[in-house]
């Protein structure tokens, strides 16, 4: 008992920090979501309005568009992060000259600050002088007005975020690949298994336990990724047609000063993500050799 008490006492500072930086802001945010805190109430104090802010969220005409766009944004990004990441990891897992250099180069997007990368990509999507259109021009493809319509404008941050996100999956997958015993491949080869068969029955199932937590993390990060969309599309342009949930909430809070409403929206996003995480966690509990 004394030993446990000592251990708990040692944990106390960390616990206090967690309460201060996680639990308290979270509780404060929930409290805020039941108030009408906004531009005109901030000076004299907000009042309790019950669930009114939550009701407003569901009356928001664009809500389902934002939600659908967020789901598409998350799914497309995570799909390409995993696909590109695993493919590159498979290539980098083989011994050949200059492997270290390729590995370092491929990790670069991850090392670059997201803010700088997003603004650089915005410049690269410039209609006339952007590198993307200049490259397309060299290939004989007409210049794309990247921020002229909502589809192209949504594609631009998606490309940016795919570029920014695949190195993480690549590093995780590479770690996973290096932990797979070589003997399994040798045995399979002796049994006459081809390359595709070995990938399907050995590599991918053994990568699953490593990749699943990374995919869950990637999903949460992408779902909540404010910087890339906000900066690349210049706050949801054209005409607020590229918002995902978090950029919309950010705008409600910091452009329109609707703090209570934004807090309620944040709580909703939290529950969506909690649900997603729970489902993913349950799926990850299945046996890997199934």
């Amino acid at each position: 008992m004394t030993r446990n008490r000592t251990a708990l006492l040692f944990l106390l500072p960390a616990l206090l920090v967690l309460v201060a930086v996680v639990a308290w802001p979270f509780a404060y945010n929930i409290g805020l979501s039941f108030t009408n805190l906004g531009l005109y109430t901030i000076k004299d104090g907000a009042s309790f309005v019950g669930l009114r802010q939550y009701a407003r969220i569901f009356r928001e005409p664009e809500l389902w568009n934002y939600l659908l766009r967020t789901v598409v944004w998350t799914a497309v990004n995570v799909f390409f992060h995993v696909t590109i990441g695993v493919t590159l990891a498979l290539l980098l897992n083989k011994p050949y000259r200059g492997r270290g250099i390729y590995r370092a180069l491929l990790i670069l997007p991850w090392a670059l600050p997201q803010y700088i990368a997003a603004l650089s990509w915005r410049g690269m999507f410039n209609y006339r002088y952007g590198a993307v259109n200049l490259l397309l021009g060299k290939l004989g493809v007409p210049a794309v007005p990247w921020f002229g319509n909502e589809v192209a404008a949504f594609l631009a941050p998606t490309i940016t975020n795919i570029w920014l996100g695949f190195p993480f999956m690549m590093v995780v997958a590479l770690g996973g690949l290096q932990s797979i015993p070589q003997e399994l491949y040798e045995a399979a080869e002796l049994d006459g298994a081809g390359r595709w068969w070995r990938l399907r029955t050995i590599t991918l199932p053994l990568l699953r336990p490593v990749l699943l937590p990374a995919v869950i993390l990637g999903t949460i990060w992408t779902f909540n990724n404010l910087n890339v969309i906000w900066l690349v599309t210049n706050q949801g342009e054209p005409g607020d047609k590229t918002h995902i949930l978090v950029t919309y909430v950010y705008k409600a809070a910091f452009n329109y000063y609707r703090y209570g409403y934004a807090a309620a929206f944040s709580v909703l996003i939290f529950f969506i993500l909690m649900g997603l995480t729970w489902v993913s966690y349950r799926r990850s509990q299945r046996p890997t050799w199934a």
Binding site: R3, T6, A7, L9, P13, N36, G38, L39, Y40, I42, K43, R56, G123, N126, Y127, R128, Y129, P145, W146, F147, G148, N149, E150, N234, Q235, E237, P238, G239, D240, F254, N255, Y256, Y257, R258, Y261
Partner: protein, 421 residues
């Protein structure tokens, strides 16, 4: 000595005490007031590099005149400055002075983040500023400007345009003649006009030029008018005429004009010096009269100035006030005006011979007289947002100029209501 899998055999109470002492020392170091806190001033700004250089010179002089005093500056983009100041201010922190456009005064004062200045600054000094340079709400003055105007004018490259257009028909004819594929590769190398087609700030002058405006005297949106349709049709026709690059945004406009690849630009005083620095022989003219309506465009006018945070501790307030009055003194306002080509905020400075006789400033005054002040109420943010959406949608072909005004008005009314809920 350590038990397998356990903790070192030491007195846990002593360890905890040591940790507590370490924590207290750290806290003391972090939390103790710095000895120079009263003489270390802070200023947040959103200036462009040319103005930052002027400010740096002015602050060096202030520090020289006040030995021991230091002024730290932090630069933000305009929007970032607003959100950062707001967030810091609500947490009881932030800078002593904040510099920015007069429209940020509205939300800052409503939130109680900035101090009214009329009780702090000598009334005779306040009277030296033109009215637009003392933005305020509810009878209070919340900022003192070092420049007024901040309005769009017609900028032209004298190497390409010999006589600037006085009406829009002539302007578009000239622009068509000046738009050229110079090397025969099938791509336009020089455009007649460059203008920001993504920000409604560039739509507003034409809205006014067709007889419309964004708000009435009571602050209610007035976006659903025939003038709005005409302004949008006019902008769409220019955008589709080929004299302006497709999807022209601010960086593209700026780059093309600096490269000499555009004859006319519609831009504000903040840009003129950078064009001269780029080697362009810049000319300035008032925006051309709209041939259809016979009226002149009415760019929005504003002021750029300093506000004082409510969180300035009383011990530092006199010094902060001294910095504020120094930066808005006649000499400093004149320096800003001469260096940047901005209109002075002070009546006395405007009469100085070199300023009154400056041809560019004279044209800028002319344009200012034709402009209309930007409302500084927070609802303007909603107006900008809905206008931006519609402007981009109309120019992108997703909405017609006939549909846009009603849509804008409905959105603005709804969002302003939400702002007040």
């Amino acid at each position: 000595m350590t038990r397998p899998g356990g903790f070192p055999q030491r007195n846990p109470a002593a360890l905890l005490a040591a940790a507590a002492v370490a924590g207290l020392v750290l806290c003391a170091v972090a939390c103790a007031p710095r000895p120079d806190a009263a003489t270390r001033l802070s200023l947040w700004e959103q200036m462009d590099p040319a103005q930052q250089a002027v400010l740096a010179r002015q602050l060096t002089e202030f520090e020289r005149l006040h030995p021991g005093v230091t002024v730290e500056t932090n630069h933000f983009e305009t929007d970032k400055l607003r959100t950062q100041f707001q967030t810091a201010g609500l947490a009881g922190a932030g800078p002593d002075l904040v510099y920015g456009p007069s429209d940020q005064v509205g939300p800052f004062s409503i939130m109680g983040l900035i101090l009214p200045l009329e009780g702090l600054v000598d009334p005779d000094t306040l009277k030296l500023f033109v009215e637009a340079a003392r933005p305020g709400l509810s009878g209070h003055v919340y900022a003192l400007a070092d420049q007024v105007g901040n309005h769009l004018t017609l900028v032209y490259n004298k190497a390409l345009v010999h006589e600037p257009a006085t009406d829009t028909d002539l302007w578009l004819r000239q622009a068509k003649e000046l738009t050229r594929d110079l090397d025969g590769d099938g791509r336009i190398d020089r455009y007649g006009i460059v203008m920001n087609l993504t920000e409604p700030f560039w739509l507003v002058p034409w809205l006014g030029g067709f007889g419309g405006w964004v708000m009435d005297e009571q602050g209610r949106p007035t976006l659903d008018t025939p003038a709005q349709t005409q302004a949008l049709e006019f902008m769409r026709s220019i955008a589709q005429s080929g004299v302006i690059p497709p999807n022209c945004d601010y960086p593209l406009m700026d780059t093309l004009f600096k490269q000499g690849a555009a004859a006319y630009a519609v831009n504000g005083p903040w840009s003129w010096q950078s064009y001269r620095d780029a080697g362009i022989d810049v000319g300035l003219a008032v925006l051309p009269r709209i041939s259809q309506s016979g009226l002149y465009p009415t760019p929005m006018t504003a002021a750029l100035g300093y506000s004082m945070s409510v969180h300035v501790p009383p011990a530092r307030r006199a010094l902060v006030l001294e910095l504020l009055t120094f930066l808005t003194s006649a000499r400093k306002v004149a320096e800003v005006s001469r260096s940047l080509g901005a209109l002075p905020s002070r009546i006395d400075v405007a009469a100085w011979p070199d300023i009154a006789g400056n041809a560019m400033l004279h044209t800028s005054w002319e344009q200012l007289r034709r402009g209309r002040p930007m409302p500084i109420v927070p609802e303007m943010r909603v107006i900008w947002d809905v206008m931006r959406t519609a402007y981009q949608q109309v120019l992108g072909g997703a909405m017609s100029p006939q549909q846009a005004p009603a849509w804008m008005q409905a959105q603005a009314v709804r969002k302003i209501e939400e702002l007040r809920l």
